[in-house]
């Protein structure tokens, strides 16, 4: 904010220049009265600044400045007084900036770092953070007549699709049900009976989430799902209701993998296609509705992944993830309006970033050219 230039009187000669307000809090002696002889300096004119700052305004007719230094030396200086301004500045720095700071001060940044504590832990892998195979066959594959492609590219795309579909079917058996059936307790595992089980887990998981029952939720959803689902309920409220199962839930994808390889620590993931009608209303922390509605149901076709640590006898099928293939219509987001920060400019056109390999090759070319020129 800028103070506007003001006229004090026509008798004055030069007008004081525009003065910006101090953004950093300053502790100054303020007299609050203008001095007409200080026309050159706006701060002194206003009485914000004093010409003789060291002079104590006690009207004692003595030169108090003479003993000011000696009096100051009476105070015991504290060298390790915590400076909160400095601390906040250091906290806001990145590690590289902190390193530069330390080097400027003459401190070895690596000397005071504590040595690594050697701790040995038994690491067990019971759940994965992602979906093993996120492929889902396209519900609307490229049509022969309406794709808009010429014959050869159309054949190519169609060929790719068939190939993927074939591989998918093969792996469902080879890397899926075959591996699961080998495990104790899963000899009679059948994907046709899995649909209703998946439905039950899905419903129970959502009800437990609404009720914020952490214990129950742990047995119904995996850790990675928890990390995605719990914030909705920690920072707000959810009202969920299953209205109708439009179609029977069917298994689309079966995968099983042991991690690490050939260890027998099998984790199985099954993708189930759910065609449901559900009600979802998401509220924010203060009880205001931000997404969905409590009265209008919505028809959804979802690909839900369930995971089980089948290497362990107590392994349970738990809700893990949802697959959103590229051909699926996008989900409705929470509409949040906000003021864009100052200096924010939106790119009108997205510039393609060059590949690192390209950059390096261009650099080499330049160097070669330079060398040639030097030789010449």
């Amino acid at each position: 904010q800028m103070l506007s230039v003001f006229r004090v009187g026509t008798r004055l000669g030069a007008f004081p220049t525009v003065l910006p307000l101090a953004s950093v809090p300053t502790a100054t002696q303020s007299a609050g009265v203008h001095h007409h002889l200080e026309r050159r300096n706006l701060r002194r004119f206003l009485g914000i600044e004093r010409s003789n700052k060291a002079r104590a305004n006690r009207n004692t007719h003595h030169n108090e400045r003479m003993f000011r230094g000696m009096r100051g030396r009476k105070t015991v200086l504290m060298d390790n007084l915590p400076d909160d301004v400095e601390q906040r500045r250091l906290d806001a720095m990145t590690p590289y900036q902190a390193r530069d700071e330390m080097l400027a001060k003459g401190i070895n940044p690596y000397k005071e770092v504590s040595p690594r504590n050697w701790r040995e832990h038994d690491v067990t892998i019971q759940s994965l953070y992602a979906v093993m195979d996120p492929y889902v066959p396209n519900e609307a594959p490229t049509s022969w007549t309406k794709s808009g492609l010429s014959f050869v590219p159309l054949l190519k795309t169609k060929g790719e699709e068939w190939k993927q579909w074939g591989m998918h079917k093969f792996h469902n058996r080879w890397s899926g049900t075959k591996k699961i059936a080998r495990k104790e307790g899963f000899e009679k595992f059948n994907t046709k009976t899995f649909g209703p089980l998946a439905d039950e887990i899905y419903e129970q998981a959502h009800n437990a989430l609404m009720a914020r029952d952490k214990k129950k939720l742990a047995g119904l959803i995996t850790e990675s799902a928890h990390a995605q689902m719990w914030p909705d309920v920690a920072n707000g409220n959810i009202v969920w209701k299953l209205v109708e199962r439009v179609k029977k839930s069917e298994v689309v994808n079966v995968r099983c993998q042991d991690i690490p390889e050939k260890s027998g620590n099998d984790i199985a993931q099954i993708t189930v296609r759910m065609h449901l009608k559900q009600i979802l209303a998401v509220y924010d922390r203060f009880g205001h509705l931000i997404l969905g509605s409590e009265t209008e149901p919505r028809e959804t076709k979802e690909y839900v992944v369930f995971e089980n640590h089948i290497a362990v006898i107590d392994g349970k099928w738990r809700l893990h993830e949802k697959i959103y293939p590229h051909w699926m219509p996008k989900k409705e987001p929470v509409l949040r309006t906000m003021k864009m920060p100052e200096g924010y400019t939106r790119l009108k056109k997205a510039n393609a970033l060059p590949l690192r390999a390209q950059e390096l090759s261009e650099k080499k070319k330049k160097q070669k050219n330079q060398k040639k020129q030097e030789e010449e």
Partner: protein, 233 residues
């Protein structure tokens, strides 16, 4: 004698029952409709090791203040006192400022119950350290409201609460004449601020500080009230 002893025992029993905390006749504990994460009673809130000491951490602490931000109100909650939906509020605190709490109090009183933008303007106009610090804290709170709490118009909020609380004192020494030593107290403050959506109550319940126009009218009043003593008419 036995009768007397029985009576005295009964009397003492009656008297000791008075020490027990009892719900006052008109006291109504409101039902817990909100959800908040569990407050750990076996751990110190600031993360230090050891059991929390009940004699310390009394009153408002930065951890307790921050905990208010974790509260989740039920869908469509209507506050019974006002009959309106719950207003969005942001609790913010700046910790361990090297400043005296008594001096910081004056800045907080200036800004209390004012609209945030108006408060920032007024604080920036004062060339005092406490107002500068409080302005920074209010700006931080506004940013939190926009980014963390997704409040659409942080400028439409008012400063519902602003107060300083001393956090710790570091003692230094100063020598005076004739080897007389005294302690200097370097005081550190936690500055607490609560922003609430909506128009504030303004100067309701307290006196509004005078601006130039009020002072002018006062001056005119004084001028017009002057009388020439012992005059005719």
């Amino acid at each position: 004698r036995e009768q007397i002893s029985v009576i005295s025992i009964q009397e003492w029993r009656r008297r000791s029952a008075l020490h027990k905390p009892v719900l006052q006749r008109d006291e109504v504990i409101p039902p817990k409709v909100y959800y908040a994460p569990e407050w750990r009673l076996d751990e110190k809130a600031n993360g230090d090791e050891g059991l929390p000491d009940p004699l310390k951490e009394y009153g408002m602490t930065p951890e307790k203040w921050e905990h208010y931000n974790q509260v989740v109100w039920p869908p469509g909650y209507v506050v019974p006192e006002t009959g309106l939906p719950k207003t969005r509020e942001v609790f913010h605190c700046r910790q361990s400022i090297h400043f005296s709490p008594r001096r910081a109090w004056y800045a907080c009183q200036l800004v209390w119950r004012m609209n945030v933008d108006e408060a920032l303007v007024q604080l920036d106009l004062q060339q005092i350290k406490s107002t500068g610090i409080l302005a920074e804290v209010l700006r931080e709170a506004k940013d939190r409201a926009a980014n963390e709490f997704h409040i659409e118009h942080p400028s439409r909020m008012h400063v519902a609460e602003a107060f300083p609380i001393q956090s710790n004192i570091i003692k230094g020494a100063r020598r005076h004449a004739h080897e007389a030593w005294n302690t200097i107290r370097y005081r550190y403050t936690h500055l607490y601020v609560r922003l609430e959506e909506g128009e504030g109550p303004g100067y309701k319940g307290r006196e509004k500080p005078k601006d130039g126009w009020d002072k002018m009218s006062d001056y005119y009043k004084y001028l017009r009230s002057r009388q020439i003593k012992y005059s005719i008419g």
